[in-house]
Amino acid sequence: MTTATKFASVSDFEKGGVEVIGNDQPRRYLFSNLFDVAAKSQPWERVVVAKNLEFTIECARAEGESPWYLSGHDETVLVMEGTLAVHFVQPAVVPGGAGNGATRLSGTPSGKVMGHVRLQAGHLALLPAGAAYQIRPAGLCVVLFQSLLGAESIERWAEICQH
């Protein structure tokens, strides 16, 4: 038998879908495809593809260097397509007043270089609380952030979901 494992990408994805029985509504299932979302996004828009109260999973078309982000809580990044590096800096000054989610910093933060990780498709990395991070993709990548709803989170359910 053939058992080739099927992963998808921006240039090669196929959506399933919701078939309702009776009077149910597809929109209740918030059905989308993260590669479809990335295909239609601007670079580094953090589009919410899953939301559970204040918690989110955000999909980004990772193309070109990201802004520097900082969050007061842990986040994670999962690479769904491509190869990239994440660089970490311990900021000398932490901007106050930031709520949940990632905050976009203006420019490069000054502070101690903490290190970097090099990731490929399938790799999951911790974005530790309090560490500023910048993602540097090699070409077009697609990433998922495990985070909280914040200033960078974009909700466009009607555009991304079957209804």
Binding site: K15, D24, L30, S32, E54, Q146
Partner: protein, 334 residues
């Protein structure tokens, strides 16, 4: 609590078990329920009737119920029998969430102290699982559940899933899966790249950065339909799992749960949680994302072993906020 409904009687008496000389298995009694098995079937008798089910289906469902500590909400073994986790107590029911049983008043439910019921179900699972049969394994990867009692498979029944406290690979936390740790690559995932990320921490920051190959981790899962926990952000938990054949339970949600299909394909049957009436069929291919609302049950079918990221919200008391109507059953309105 503003409800005037009296809290249910909680049964706290230990189970009783007697060996059945015909097949070598024990029968188990707890509360008003009696559980018996023969070579092919499980027979559950309760004050209003009898429920019969294939023993393989029953053991696969019971394995999950026990291994997950009764899980979140409803663990329906099928459209008739199951448990509801009340977090401290557990309901065992026949027909309570099946419109036909309820209409005929043949539905029945009893509430048990969680630890007492757990002890009974674990003992039953050990006694009824034969040598060579692993209820966690896909059917093509294990032996037969049938026949009279022969040997045991305590190693399989005692399998513990891996639960990271914060993130896989951090010092003192869960670790990536390797051959050396006893996690070979599954036959369906021998084409999944096994390279690990490069982690470069500067002096003074050792142990603060972490990354691992999640796809490789899943390719090495020895079991099916059994989520691990790999990362925690607040109360948000990534619970990835490898799936093959049929989810042995119909999971009835007491909160919203999300699925991200990482590889291959799963089809979900969705039913009304209260009546078992069918509501939807959802096909998820690689990259698809879908929410399971808090008012449904779902059962998955995976023709090839696939990678699924289950995403849970572990906030304590969430089940009451959905049950009371404070929170809508859906994750977002648009």
């Amino acid at each position: 609590m503003t409800s005037s409904v009296k809290p249910p009687v909680v049964h706290r008496d230990a189970h009783r078990s007697i060996r059945d000389p015909r097949y070598g298995y024990h029968s188990f009694e707890i509360g008003s329920f009696k559980f018996q098995r023969d070579e092919y079937f499980v027979r559950v008798t309760y004050p209003k009737g009898t429920y019969v089910v294939d023993v393989g289906n029953f053991l696969r469902a019971m394995m999950r119920d026990v291994a997950w500590g009764f899980f979140y909400g409803w663990v329906n073994f099928d459209e008739v029998f199951g448990t509801v986790n009340r977090y401290g107590t557990v309901d065992v029911f026949v027909g309570s969430y099946n419109a036909g049983y309820v209409a005929a008043s043949t539905d029945f439910s009893e509430c048990f102290d969680s630890a007492t019921l757990f002890t009974c179900f674990k003992a039953l699972l050990k006694d009824w699982t034969n040598e060579g049969y692993d209820p966690f394994a896909a059917p093509l990867e294990t032996g037969s559940p049938y026949g009279s009692r022969h040997g045991n498979n305590d190693q399989a029944v005692d399998f513990q899933r891996e639960l990271a406290d914060r993130f896989v690979g951090l010092p003192g936390d869960s670790q990536p899966r390797t051959d050396a740790r006893g996690f070979p690559v599954n036959r369906h995932f021998d084409d999944v790249p096994q390279h690990e990320p490069e982690v470069h921490a500067e002096p003074g920051f050792e142990g603060q950065l972490a990354a691992f190959n999640l796809f490789a981790y899943l390719s090495r899962s020895p079991v099916t339909w059994n989520p691990s926990v790999v990362s925690i952000v607040g109360e948000s938990a990534y619970c990835p799992t490898s799936e093959e054949h049929i989810l042995p339970i119909l999971h009835g949600n007491d909160r919203v749960e999300w699925f991200l299909q990482l590889s291959d394909e799963i089809t979900w049957q969705v039913a009304d949680k209260a009546t078992a009436a069918p509501r939807a069929v959802i096909t998820m291919k690689a990259g698809d994302v879908a929410a399971m609302p808090a008012d449904i049950s779902h059962r998955g079918f995976s023709p090839k072993r696939s990678m699924l990221l289950v995403w849970e919200n572990m906030t304590p008391g969430l089940e009451q906020r959905y049950a009371s109507g404070e929170l809508a059953p859906t994750a977002a309105e648009f």
